[in-house]
Symmetry: C2
Subunit: 281 residues, 2 copies
C-alpha cells in the first residue's frame, strides 16, 4: 500500500522513522505523467534501498511563460496506481503552495554543466530544477536519489548541486528506457500525432550513427553537421542543438574520453531531447 | 576540551554521533576574530543545546574585490582559546578548498529581506552569505543556529533562507553586545584609531534618538534626515543608509508595527553598521 502525503512535515516524519529503523531510503523525483521510464527509476531505487519515495510535483519554476506548464499532462489517480503496482512505499504529492508558499524568494543556481545546450534555449530551466530538487532533497533527507539519463544535462547539474552544497546523499543515474524503435520514453511523447511519432522514432538512430562515427575517428564538426542535417531530413522542424560533450562536466568533447552526443529538436509543438554515449575505448 | 576539525566529514560524523545520543546541537557560524559579541552567541547556544559547534571561516564569497578580505583579522590561536574558555565543544575550521573546491559553481540567492540597505552597497554580499550559510547548515546538520542581531539584515536573510529551503533547524537571533558607551562589538572595530573610536561610539545614541522620535510620533522622513545629519556631524565621513524598516520582512516601516532603524556609515577606511528596535507599543 503506497502511503500518500501532501505535506513536508508528514514526508519528513515518515522518512526519519524509516531511517531511525536503519532502513535505506531512495527518492525518485518526478513531475508525474508516469511511464515505463519512471518505473525503471523506481526499480533502480528499490534495488538499492529498502524504501522508495516518489515525489510528484509539476514544478512551475522550471517552465518559461511560453512553455507547456498548463497543458503538461496531469493524471494523479493513474500515477498513484502505477506507484502501487511498482511497490513504491510513499508518494509525496505536494500542492504548489506547500513547495512555494506566499513570499517564497530563494533560488539555487548551478554553473558548470548547466552552461549552454538546454540553457541556451530555456535560460531559467536549471535554476528552477536546482531549486526544487535542492528543496526536495532537504525535505525528504534520502540516502540516495535516482534520475534518468534521458535528461542527461539535468543529471549532471543535479550531481554538481549535491557535490557543491554537500548534500548528504548519492545520485544514481539510470539508463534511458526506449520503445522497440529506440524512442526515449517521455511524458511529452503524449503530445505527438501518429505521423510525428514515426519521425520522432528516427532521432535515436541518428544519434547512434553520429556516436559511432566519432568513435570511429570521424571529424567532430563534420559529424555534428551531418547529424543536424539528418534530424531535419527525418522530418523535425528545427534542431535546437546537437553536440558532443564530455560525460561528467559537459565540457567540449575530446577524442579518447567518454562522451555523450546530446540533441534537442522540435517537432510541431513538441520539443524532444535525447542523448547517447560516445565510448572512449 | 574543544575538538578542532577541518573537514566536513569529521564535522558531520561528530554531530551525527551526538544527535544519535539524543543530544541537541547548536551551530554558531563566525568569521573568527572573536570578541565578546561572539561569546554571547555561544552562551545563547549553550543555553538552548547540549553541544555547541562554532565554525570559523572567512568566506571569500561575501567580500567584493574592493573590500577587506585580505586584511580581515585572522587570529586562530586566540580564537581557539576563547572557544575553549566559553565551553564550546567543537570548532570547525575548514580551509577555503574544503568549502569551495576547484570547480565549485553553485550559488544560493535569497530575495525578500536582502533587497536594498546592504545590497545597495555590497551587491553580491548576501548571495555569498546565503551560499556559505546554506552549506554550513547542510554540512553540520544542527538543531539550531545562533546569529547576532548586530547584522540584522543578515539575520532576516538567514531566517528566510531556512524557511524557503525547508532546512530542518531553528534560527535564534541574539541581542547585540555593546561597550559601556553603546558601541556594537564588531571585528572591524579593530581597524579604528582612538579618535575614530570616540566618533564610532556616538552611532548607537543617534539611532536610539531616532527610534524614540519615531515611537513618539515624529515624521519618518524628517527623523531619518535628521539622523543622517547627526551621523555626519558626529564625525563619520559618509552615510551609506539610515532607514526605518519592519522587523521581519525589512519592508518599509509602518507606524504601529515593530520595526528597526538600521544604519551603515563610513569612518576613514572602516564601514560600521548598527541597528535598534522601534517598539510598536
Amino acid at each position: 500500500m503506497t502511503i500518500v502525503v501532501e505535506t513536508i512535515a508528514a514526508l519528513r516524519a515518515q522518512v526519519r522513522a524509516w531511517r531511525a529503523e536503519g532502513l535505506k531510503v531512495a527518492l525518485v523525483p518526478t513531475m508525474g505523467a508516469l511511464h515505463d521510464g519512471h518505473v525503471s527509476l523506481m526499480r533502480a531505487a528499490l534495488e538499492r534501498a529498502d524504501r522508495c519515495v516518489v515525489s510528484i510535483f509539476v514544478n512551475p519554476r522550471q517552465f518559461a511563460p511560453t512553455e507547456d506548464l498548463d497543458k503538461y499532462p496531469r493524471q494523479l489517480a493513474l500515477d498513484l496506481d502505477r506507484l502501487e503496482k511498482a511497490g513504491v512505499h510513499l508518494a509525496f504529492t505536494p500542492g504548489v503552495e506547500e513547495v512555494y508558499p506566499q513570499g517564497f524568494a530563494t533560488s539555487i543556481s548551478v554553473g558548470g554543466p548547466s552552461a549552454e545546450l538546454e540553457t541556451d534555449f530555456r535560460p531559467a530551466f536549471f535554476d528552477g530544477v536546482a531549486t526544487v530538487v535542492g528543496k526536495l532533497f532537504i525535505q525528504s533527507e534520502p540516502d540516495l536519489a535516482v534520475f534518468g539519463e534521458k535528461d542527461y544535462q539535468q543529471l549532471c547539474v543535479v550531481k554538481k548541486l549535491v557535490q557543491d552544497l554537500n548534500l548528504p546523499l548519492e545520485i544514481v543515474g539510470s539508463p534511458t528506457i526506449r520503445d522497440s524503435e529506440g524512442l526515449a520514453m517521455s511524458s511529452r511523447n503524449a503530445y505527438l500525432s501518429a505521423q510525428e511519432l514515426e519521425i520522432a522514432r528516427r532521432l535515436n538512430k541518428i544519434l547512434r550513427k553520429a556516436a559511432s562515427a566519432l568513435e570511429g575517428g570521424a571529424d567532430e564538426a563534420v559529424t555534428m553537421a551531418a547529424a543536424r542535417q539528418d534530424v531535419l531530413e527525418a522530418g523535425f522542424d528545427a534542431v535546437d542543438y546537437v553536440a558532443a560533450r564530455q560525460s561528467d562536466t559537459l565540457a567540449p568533447w575530446q577524442r579518447d574520453t567518454d562522451g555523450r552526443v546530446l540533441v534537442a529538436a522540435r517537432l510541431g509543438k513538441t520539443r524532444l531531447i535525447d542523448n547517447v554515449e560516445i565510448s572512449a575505448s
